[in-house]
Amino acid sequence: MTQHTVSAAAPDASSGSGARPGRGLAASLRSVRTLAGLLPFAGYVVLGLGLPTAAIAVGAFQNSSTGSFTLSNIDTATHGIYLHGFETTLGVSVITAIVPGIIGFLVAYAIYTAKRGAVLRRAVITASGVFANFGGVPLAFLFIATLGSTGLVTGWLTGIGLDPYTHGFNLYTFSGIVVVYMYFQIPLMVLVILPALEGLRPAWREAARNLGAGAWHYWRYVGGPVLMPSFLGCVLLLFGSAFSAYATAEALTSGSVPLTAIQIGSFLNGNVLAGQQNVGKALGLGMIVIIAVVMALYTVLQRRAAQWLR
């Protein structure tokens, strides 16, 4: 019967006893074989993600018509309205990562702990799946019909004397974008945090209760630390999702709020700016750089959060 030694920590009982010559070679061969298990994934990532990204990165340094090396695309992409675009995009992304992150977590927890909640859970999970991918023109229209100047909710609020537009709210600005983005960010959070909630053993809650801990203490000392790594990971996902969202903001604000993804769109598939595609690629490269920085920050945070677990 062929057997694979599974864990690195397991004793080599099954490989037989006796001296094994060339220990160093065997060990390094084994580690190569270990890494080889990731080959399909690595291969897929290189082909499906690495190559296109490299093409973009290379294109960012090329002149759009002649293909010769130039830094002007990068220069354009890091100044003026495009720098402003990066700032605004970061702002939107941070806010629509944290706020929906918290709300999504609350919803996930609510349905996870519901008694006899199997139907509710199923309905919410599937609905979340649908809404998490809803966006673009249809979503923009939904909110224009709701919170636009002649929208349904605007009408209700005006009826009770609280016209949002006279109180400074405008759907077609930064705050409007945040409100609309939550429509797909909250479901996304619900979906990605749910599997993590299974890590919260109910027995821990009972044990905490037996020791006299209230809800606050439970979350502060048990639930919070256990979930924090996963929570941070999910918030990071939400950040990325908001960062690259494009169609919704475009349909809603027509570029009057500078967002990097929209600016990329105007270079790469627009009707006005001809022959400057590589500035779009430079902007894309900028987005990749930013996310790399955010990932580094996240790694530091993660390490601190997961400290006590190891």
Binding site: T2, Q3, V6, S7, A9, L35, L38, P40, F41, Y44, V45, G48, L49, L51, T53, I56, L106, A110, T113, K115, R121, R122, A123, A127, V130, F131, N133, F134, G136, L142, A145, L152, V153, I186, L191, V192, L194, P195, E198, G199, P202, A203, A207, N210, G214, S230, G233, C234, G240, S244, Y246, A247, I264, G280, G284, M287, I288, I291, M295, T299
Partner: protein
């Protein structure tokens, strides 16, 4: 599902004689319904507003519009292929990393977050530049790229699900009892990862059925592309088409989740019982 079992455990414990007087616990159900109500309202009201615009009469005509069946069928086909590829690729890889290369976990997270951050509009430009001719001429290039787009969500689902398991012990136990890799994966790990697999499947299918940018730039008329193309023709019908798309996707996902759920109830208890919370272990973890 493990979640279901944990639920019933809570019920048992709540009914037990040892329940201490805890005002916080008794009030929690109220908060739960309040949150669900508020968030639910936030999601439903815009739908109602849109419905007000289209009226119910637009819906039947949507299905009869030119191009609808073909576009829908293409999207469903792509969704099926993408989901299978994603599960086959990501599940073993996630298990493998958790098991053998735990130090690479963070790197994996980093890699799998990239597809989300690179805007699809940029990615498809890069893809079309490097993809070989024979792939570009089929819509399956889209499916292959959708796997890349689904990667972050699938990996995160499996990662969270695996963190919740005592993976090392499960696998060692299975191996020590003579199970080979395939059996371990199929009969021991998969049943414990049902929630994660369901979450990943739901995310992937919904992603493919809702993805617009890459399909439209690759010049294939998938369902979302068809909906937007229709927006120019007729406002109410287009909005009705989007609402219909939401609804149909939801039904599809419900069907998938029910199939997944039913199988778990019929499965052997033996696969699941030892390492997840079960009725028999009321004595605590």
């Amino acid at each position: 599902m493990a979640a279901l079992i944990g639920d019933e455990l809570l019920e048992d414990m709540a009914a037990g004689p040892q329940r201490p007087a805890q005002p916080g616990w008794r009030h929690f159900p109220f908060w739960r319904w309040l949150i669900l109500l508020i968030v639910g309202a936030y999601f439903v009201i815009p739908l109602v507003a849109a419905l007000r615009f289209t009226g119910f009469s637009s819906f039947p005509s949507v299905v009869h519009q030119e191009g609808f069946p073909a576009a829908f069928e293409l999207s469903v086909r792509l969704a099926a292929i993408t989901t299978v590829l994603t599960l086959v690729l990501m599940l073993p890889s996630a298990v493998y990393v958790h098991l053998r290369l735990p130090r690479l976990r963070r790197l994996m997270e980093g890699i799998t977050i990239l597809p989300i951050v690179i805007p699809p509009v940029v990615l498809i430009v890069g893809v079309l530049q490097v993809a070989p001719g024979y792939l570009k001429s089929t819509p399956y290039l889209l499916a292959l790229e959708y796997v890349v787009l689904a990667m972050p969500f699938a990996y995160r689902s499996f990662d969270a699900g695996l963190r919740a398991l005592d993976l090392q012990t499960l696998v060692e136990a299975a191996q020590s009892l003579g199970a080979g890799w395939r059996t371990t994966l199929w009969r021991v790990l998969l049943p414990n990862l049902r929630a994660a697999m369901l979450s990943a499947t739901v995310l992937t299918v919904a992603l493919v059925l809702g993805e617009f940018t890459m399909a439209s730039l690759d010049l294939y008329q998938t369902f979302p592309v068809w909906i937007v193309a229709f927006d120019q023709t007729s406002g109410p019908i287009s909005v009705a088409a989007s609402l219909l798309a939401l609804f149909v996707t939801w039904i599809l996902l419900l069907a998938i989740s029910m199939i997944g759920g039913r199988r778990s109830r019929r499965g052997d208890g033996a696969d699941v019982s030892l390492f997840s919370v079960s009725r028999r272990n009321t004595g605590g973890s």
